[in-house]
Symmetry: C2
Subunit: 313 residues, 2 copies
């Protein structure tokens, strides 16, 4: 059997052990493990990396704990606007959607854009028309309702503030995004990223999650990357593609390239967050420059780990 | 006096001399010259590159000949949706807007996003709210009306086709975008790009013009780039940042890096179009892999050229 591997994330940020109950920690870990197993099973059975990342991200989108799909935060109008993107590393095809409302799985919509349209990037009302045409599963606003998210929004809704997921103050930020990267037995890599944005966000703000090159990138010759962090800085740093360029143009290893980008280049412009990366040899890296990152990986050699805090690459 | 330089483009594509009248050619050249002179004057007087690129692009947006601002093509609903982005090379700040309607100068809106918001990328209705708050000049739909553009749309509006600017058939495409890059006497580079998209475009499609890294990028350490071409391929190729990476990571010159990206890397994924680039030494490059590109540059040594067809770098 050829090598395969998958890595996932559920967002990075100031995740303090002191604020976490053992029960809640268990919930996060078990949700990560479930998504990981879904992707791993596809890869083990000889399936494609693009299916593995889509299905792993769908699982995270369907879980209320993460800021994506069902768990999306409230925007300034009390609604839920989601962004997602996906890319495959063989032909470097990509699909991306932003400010999507009422769709259960934005990552599957991004994949439809990649496969069923001549376009890469669709936004706003137009993308809903496209979703309807392609029979994407719709949900009403009750589906996204969550007492915790609602209270987050209530606290700041009459202000000009917006906030990252889980943060009650600026020192305690979490970048709510989910993502997956995978290598399949055919040697193809793929990456997928999905987010519910920022609580009380206004003006149709888009972060890096739907921007190919910034939040998501895949190329069989180098790597597949999915990011989570302060989206504006990840866009300005073109973070996902930067890792690929360091590998291709400077012959760096995946882990050295990812380390350089997250711990040096991103810090130069004061960006924080992390990323998950995989290369065509099945190496995996999960660096972050924050307190923690919900993350995990599984490899064909049997290694399978989920983590929240601790050491970053 | 320190060196300064500016380059502009008004789109690339199959611009055939046989289809052009001397009169029309003169109109294009004089519009390019006007935009160039506006930017050049700012730079000559010691102004900033960010002002030079914004004002040069505004001049092109205000001209009905180019597919941006006033000259924007009709979308599938008979409206005009515009995208734009801007970036400065000193701190690498950026602003981008997409699917903007009713605003006279999308490039100035992108600059407001860069300077007056904590965000980089705003889209759809939200960005109009932001524009109102910041007093951007509004125009009604009559402002965008143009008989030639309207007839372009009428021909295909009841079909599923969308088309690039000026193309009556697939062999005769023009990528309607405008852009500018500049180096000022303070050693700072900047880039700006603006477009009216594709005739009969649907589903809130965004091309590369509003995507930082793809259509626009600026970094004093390397270069400032503005692209024009088949937007989907420029997004997948992360074209603007790729030129910067080849310079930074492989020590290539601006012109070698831009040539490599436009004539090799972009062709690998079947993308066509061109770009304009400038570096901190005042070198300028204007490569394209199409028949022509509306383009021009002016340097502090007195060189000043506008061209439509002919040899590409």
């Amino acid at each position: 059997m050829s090598k395969y591997a998958i890595a996932i994330h559920g967002g990075a940020g100031t995740i303090l052990k002191s604020k976490m109950t053992p029960q809640k920690e268990e919930q996060y870990k078990s949700a990560l493990m479930e998504a990981l197993t879904i992707g791993e099973t596809i890869l083990k059975n000889g399936g494609n990396s693009i299916d593995a990342v889509e299905m792993a991200v769908r699982s995270l989108e369907d879980c209320h704990l993460f800021n994506a799909g069902k768990g999306s935060v409230f925007n300034s109008k009390g609604g839920h606007e989601m962004d997602a993107s996906i890319m495959e590393g063989k032909l470097r095809n990509a699909g991306a959607v932003a400010t999507v409302t009422g769709i259960k799985n934005p990552i599957s919509l991004a994949r439809k854009v990649m496969e069923k349209s001549e376009h890469v990037f669709l936004v706003g009302e137009g993308v809903e028309e496209f979703a309807k045409l392609h029979g994407l599963e719709k949900v009403d606003s009750n589906y996204f309702y969550d007492e915790f998210r609602y209270q987050q929004w209530q606290k700041i809704k009459d202000s000009d503030n917006f906030q990252l997921d889980h943060s009650d103050d600026k020192k305690e930020q979490k970048f709510g995004t989910v993502g997956a990267v995978a290598l399949d037995q055919h040697g193809n890599v793929a990456a997928a990223t999905s987010t519910g944005g920022m609580t009380n966000k206004k003006f149709g703000r888009i972060g890096d999650s739907s921007v190919i090159g910034a939040g998501t990138y895949a190329d069989n010759r180098t790597c597949a990357i999915s990011c989570t962090g302060s989206g504006e800085f990840f866009i300005r740093g073109v973070v996902a593609y930067d890792v690929s360029c360091l590998m291709e143009y400077k012959n760096m290893s995946l882990s050295d390239a990812a380390h350089e980008v997250i711990h040096h280049r991103l810090m130069e412009i004061q960006g924080d967050g992390g990323l998950i990366g995989i290369d065509a040899k099945g190496n995996v890296t999960l660096p972050f420059n924050t307190e923690g990152m919900y993350r995990g990986f599984a490899k064909s050699n049997g290694e399978k780990v989920v983590e929240i805090y601790g050491y970053s690459d």
